[in-house]
Assembly symmetry: D2
Homo-oligomer: 303 residues x 4
């Protein structure tokens, strides 16, 4: 059978990234942290490729650092390197850290409903090699996008959303599909409420795209509200999902110009372009460990 | 005494605009309005320089048209032309219209407080010949900008704002200064509440610049709220003032990118650039009769 | 056989646009043109939905007008209406005009090579109903995108490009495929030179997307040149194709911010988003008769 | 005599920046540089406030780092700290470095001609405390802006530009005024050619604002050329001045949307806003040591 089949391109591990790792460190700022990190790396003959550092208050606030480094025979060297970092950073400075080989792509599940523009844009970008992720599955409460998703070689699961407020059965099925299979979740215009219980139990970050410039137009129907208010720009916001609807830490936002002649449908058309762009940047940055949550805010070491 | 004195440049009446008039028409849409307007103009040998037209619903909604036309001996021809328009548009179609010679600049009073960036940007653009307005006066509840304003050759009036909620004495003085002298008012970061009574009695449009992307961050301290919420863009909104604070019809909005490292002071610095740009565009468009209010919205035939 | 098949959605003819036509008029400006056009329309009980007018010099330059009007029983009324327009505009004022029912979508052939981002974005927008066009065919000198294109239900023709400068055989095949079948052509990152002879013989407008902000970086390898020059923005330009490479009338341009850390590959990734956005706007505007060529420039009555 | 006099505000040295220094390091990349720098700083009990690092090729390219650090009693500690840096960085790694107390503002001379928008915008921003610079003087070949400049409390020197190509007498006078008094020069729409001889002898960086998006429209009259070409965006470029006109390393660029109806004068008006914004960002970043020249390119660690 000759069916149209997109190649399931894992992000190619280039010569450039094969021997690279990314290290995220955060905690209370103290003098000497950068020196401690870079000294451990230098001792292991790891060369720093890029380094972003931020302290929210130089006189004793919070400290954040993202370091990409490279080293021949990275895999062999990592265990001892991590042990030394553990000793220096966790034990010595009481910092939190995370270490990941760049070649190890994060695994994502994408949730969608009927609208396909954000979903397809992510799949396209992934296929083009723009997103260093593995798309483990797509889950939808509708079947509209099933064929399209599967043509990319990606599993599609249909989990209908029951009428009524109790989504526990559907969420239980979600949890069964996701367990052990994903590192984060993307809600690509998934039009269902996510329960606090689900957020707790799934245990991985969830990124949502909201179709307005938050905190303007929280909740349903933001384009209709925007038309009603007569705004001259409409926007989109990618944020981490928390129990409070549309109140989670913002990762990225953007806007596009509109005018009085634009109908609500036209606002949706223009906004759809912003939604897919904003979501793709948020997914890219999250997958590259460029986003650090800090309370209800984010530190974004954007590329 | 040699004092630094900006020339009080009225907008130069160029050869191009000397014989031009602008006609605004709005009301209920019916077939034949454009033909009626353009036929009157053609009969008076007036050439249409530009024409913008908008109907919010082609099957019987509201109709808006802005027409700029030119004619030799414009001034002499206008009375009869207006009489014919009156007959055709007001009597025939039941439309509202306004006719203005382009060479007749609108007169504006600018209200300011301590912050000078929006005020000075307007004065400086006016001096450069960018704004076809006459600045009749600047009114402030502080004296900080008095010398600077007067160096542009513009009268400055200090009307202190009394403590407490009752601003009626100050507003009475405002009304005395404004009466008969202005065609519209600009609040250039004027940090005082305007009463509904004042709005009613002053009888001319009032444009305000709010230092956020409305409807996000209504009220005081929007930059602090923006920092708190962790937004990735900050913006500004120019709108007509109504009794409901920050709820009036929006004329123009814009945003600028910020990030986690920006302090509230830095948001203010970046936002100040957006404020002055947005306000200057709103003032330009209003002064060129490009903005038509329609309920709580605006039709903007932007240049 | 169950193959993934995109529905070949013709742009839905909505109730709104079913009875609409668009009229383009241009020529030498004279007093009374707008009145003449709108009087003919009013006499035929056609209601003007939108009207854009521009004169490049109010004292005797070129005149351009785009008018959208609606009328019950449009199709029946059009022949007589066109006859009257012909008499008034062509005979009376010596103007050029074009009249098209909005429901009659323009037919387009898309030329592509290996890069698929512009091609797929057009097909996907068309499928979503964003572009009022009929995609008659895709022609490529490579076969990479064949399956993907056909999954949208659109014919794909592979016409290899011969080595050497003589493309006449391939162009002859192009002309055979296109003859009578298309109203315009889009070069969606088609990496082959188009001969002046082809432009003459094909007789329909050709839109190209150039991957730089023209006139910067004309010719091949613009992103490498941009990296070399150290620019801080990269862009894309949609233009009509003329015999002079990259010198045709510009329809639309846009840019995106880049920095020193971006490699040429990264510039290409960022630029690809701009290319597809700019091209889709140019195609939308062209398909809605919003673009009028005037010498080496365009009048764009953009939505 | 009461003359209008702007306070000559030096950038206020805030509590925050009083004890901070900025360190720029660049040269050939080697493993261990970050560790060496941060270890010297930690040994001196200096806390890193922000750190930006970039290597153009992780396998042996060029290395660039900007570090801001703070320390109580900074001034007393600097001599020994610098000695240690010298030993580690210059002697050990063969790197180039520069160290500056943040409280020590760079001194600038601004060159202007008749156009005042870029000049005044810099003076305003400086007065508002936005630019950490000391404006030592303004030099102009015209006297138009003399009063305005002096009202800011800044010395104004009129150095007429002689007719003919030989500017050596004027340049000699420039050099006399500048010698020992400035750390960099800004050409704020200064409409005179700068000779290679002057660039060599003045010995400080020179920043120019060009009124186009370079490399498009090099040389004189870029707005007229932009109108002629029919571009849909116009821009501005801030760059370091080299002997090759408009070919120096680009610091910052931006654009604004225009359309067919904009005259050359309108392009100039819209472009003027971009020019002053772009120039002010370039001056801010240069004054904060955020810009490192590297061949004909710049590394910009932008805020």
């Amino acid at each position: 059978m000759t069916t149209t089949q997109h190649a399931r391109s894992a992000q190619p591990v280039t010569e450039r990234t094969a021997e690279q790792a990314v290290l995220i460190v955060h905690g209370s700022d103290r003098t000497g942290i950068v020196a401690a990190i870079s000294t451990v790396l230098a001792r292991h003959r790891a060369n720093i490729v890029s380094l972003d550092q931020y302290s929210d208050d130089p006189r004793g606030g919070a400290f954040f650092q993202r370091t990409v480094f490279s080293r021949p025979d990275l895999k062999a060297a990592l265990p001892q390197l991590e042990k030394d970092l553990q000793e220096q950073l966790a034990t010595g400075f009481g910092l939190t850290y995370a270490l990941r080989e760049v070649a190890t792509a994060k695994r994502v599940a994408i949730f969608a409903s009927k609208a396909d523009h954000c979903l397809l844009d992510l799949l396209w970008r992934h296929q083009r090699g723009e997103l260093p992720i593995t798309v483990s599955m797509v889950i939808s409460n509708h079947t509209d996008t099933a064929d399209e998703v599967r043509s990319f070689g990606i599993p599609f699961f249909h989990v209908p959303s029951p009428a009524g407020p109790d989504k526990s059965a559907a969420e239980a099925e979600h949890l069964k599909l996701l367990a052990g299979n994903v590192d984060f979740i993307v809600l690509a215009r998934y039009m269902q409420i996510i329960s606090g219980d689900f957020i707790d139990r799934v245990g991985v970050p969830i990124i949502n795209i909201h179709h307005s410039f938050l905190p303007a137009f929280i909740g349903a129907g933001p384009y209709a509200k925007a038309k009603q208010r007569g705004v001259k720009l409409v926007g989109a916001t990618a944020h981490y999902v928390t129990e409070d609807l549309d109140e989670g830490p913002i990762i990225e936002q953007d806007v596009v110009r509109v005018n009085h002649a634009d109908t609500v449908a036209e606002l949706q058309r223009r906004g759809a372009d912003v939604e897919r762009d904003v979501l793709s940047r948020a997914v890219l940055w999250h997958s590259q460990d460029r986003v650090i949550r800090h309370g209800n805010q984010t530190i974004v070491f954007a590329s």
